[in-house]
């Protein structure tokens, strides 16, 4: 057996230098061979021998098909995930924009006003659908709020929950905290699950339930309750609260910081899974499978089932390797899985995950 003592996963993560891999396994795509080898090794000891063998043969078949039938795709200038690299700058600039808005207004730039509850960008209205529904409890709202909520829902339908992954300031803080936590206190190695994670179904129910509960409470108590616990809205109003003094800033930061602390302590992204502000976005995003999103191409996928580089990279712990990619109602289009996939297998036959409108 040519398999060295290191496991397949370590090879794929790029922890080993290139020359340490035997040359006969780097001919086309090392992963298929490695998968076969790993499966064969497992077959001697593991009770999952049947499954692993099937997996290995599937991977090998797929690679052979790729080699013979479809040519390698022409590489894009920055790879097939170049816009994923824009995400962090976009998130940071949105947060900075909201922090600097009062100053920009004082300098005469009045094109953008509002917060993430309702935003006016050069007279194009945007509105949080959940806020709009709560405002509706007070009577018929003006057309601009309808239009704003409609635009946001249409964007969610086309692009999925890009708001959560690309614009939300709390999403930025939560992701940075999660990344730092993973870097400095990596989670204990858990045995790979035999089935893809399904916990996201509960999150969807909890989120929608929280949203409905909040709307009922808003009708009962007479003020938009969900806006009091909205972290993106609170963070986007931070600069206006700063006008009131340091005490007001501390009050405004109390909830986000408490949630961030809880997330750092547990090592999981708690809030973003069940954030009631995203309930409408998730519903709109789940309406179609054809929009912008992550797609998984089974014939390109070369990792064995237990490796799951993409699902290990997903900060929301979503199942990625499914026919239509991760569930659209939960995926925030962050592209971490696509990046991990491209890193795991640099061969042209790899890169089974793709982000975009077209499904390959």
């Amino acid at each position: 057996m040519p398999m060295p003592t290191t496991t397949f996963t370590e090879n794929m993560a790029g922890l080993l230098p290139e020359h340490s891999i035997p040359p006969e396994r780097t001919v086309s795509c090392p992963s298929a061979f490695a998968a076969a080898a790993a499966a064969a090794m497992e077959a001697q000891s593991s009770p999952k021998a049947e499954e692993a063998r099937a997996e290995a043969s599937r991977g090998a078949t797929a690679t052979t098909e790729q080699r013979h039938h479809s040519p390698a795709p022409r590489p894009l200038p920055f790879g097939n995930r170049w816009y994923v690299r824009l995400r962090r700058p976009v998130q940071c600039s949105v947060f900075m924009l909201f922090l600097l808005l009062p100053w920009l207004h004082s300098q005469g730039f009045v094109g953008i006003s509002g917060s993430l509850y309702a935003l006016n960008v050069f007279n194009v209205p945007f509105a949080d659908p959940v806020s709009a529904m709560q405002a509706l409890l007070g009577g018929l709202v003006p057309f601009s709020l309808w239009a704003g909520a409609g635009i946001v829902l249409l964007l969610a339908l086309l692009f999925g929950r890009v708001f959560c992954g690309w614009l939300c300031p709390f999403g930025l803080l939560s992701e940075v905290a999660h990344t730092l936590r993973r870097r400095f206190a990596p989670p204990k190695a858990t045995p790979p699950a035999s089935s893809p994670p399904t916990a996201y179904r509960q999150w969807f129910r909890v989120r929608t339930g929280l949203c409905l509960l909040g709307i009922i409470l808003a009708a009962w108590l007479g003020f938009p309750v969900l806006n009091s616990v909205s972290l993106p809205g609170e963070l986007s109003l931070l600069s206006l609260q700063a006008h009131e003094g340091m005490a007001a800033v501390l009050v405004a930061l109390a909830l986000p910081v408490a949630v961030l602390l809880a997330e750092v302590l547990t090592g999981k992204r708690l809030w973003c899974r069940v954030c009631p502000q995203a309930a409408c976005l998730a519903l709109a995003a789940a309406c179609t499978q054809q929009g912008f999103g992550v797609a998984w191409n089974a014939t390109r996928c070369t990792c064995p089932r237990h490796a799951r580089m993409c699902e290990a990279a997903c900060s929301l712990q979503l199942p990625v390797r499914r026919k239509n990619g991760p569930p659209r109602s939960e995926c925030v289009q962050c592209g971490d899985c696509v990046t991990a996939c491209a890193k795991a297998c640099t061969a042209p036959q790899g890169q089974a995950l793709h982000m975009g409108f077209e499904k390959r």
Partner: protein, 156 residues
């Protein structure tokens, strides 16, 4: 006593209960205000992040830019004239006013009132008196050297 506990809202605000239901706390009126007179209320209660005006800090000069900016109808966008701002009412504390006390002729409130000659008139040519035309913008409270005027929000 209820009026003293409701904050002074920007011009064109609907009745307080409906205002709390309708206002989605987006802050567009705050951004629209060129004087930074509209500010966000703090605290944890119902009024968190709702717009208020604190006249003794910065009064409203009735430029009427915030009602059209409101996306949710909490500020009535059809209110565009200063006379219909309907924020509240100024109250004169006569034993602090220089003119009532005598000895000094001070007509600062009369001169600086945005509704000059309508909301504050000079009774007998001397004593400033607040009329029903007052909309409660709070400029008189801001400019009064003796702090002899208090603005009370509209009773709703």
């Amino acid at each position: 006593m209820k009026p003293f506990f409701t904050p002074l809202r920007p011009p064109g605000a609907v009745a307080e209960q409906e205002f709390l239901r309708r206002c989605i706390r987006c802050g567009q009126c705050v951004h629209a205000c060129p004087w930074q007179a509209v500010r966000l209320a703090g605290g944890w209660g119902k009024t968190r992040n709702t717009p208020v005006i604190v006249p003794r800090h910065t009064p409203c000069w009735l430029c009427m830019k915030c009602p059209p900016a409101c996306p949710s109808g909490a500020l009535d966008a059809s209110v565009t004239s200063m006379e219909k701002a309907n924020m509240g009412r100024a109250i004169m504390i006569k034993d602090q006013c220089l003119n009532y006390k005598g000895g000094t002729m001070c007509w600062t409130c009369y001169d600086r009132c945005p509704l000059r000659g309508k909301a504050i008139i000079l009774e007998g040519g001397i004593l400033p008196t607040i009329t029903d035309a007052c909309v409660g913008c709070g400029v008189c409270e801001y400019v009064c050297p003796e702090k002899a005027i208090t603005t009370v929000p509209e009773k709703r």
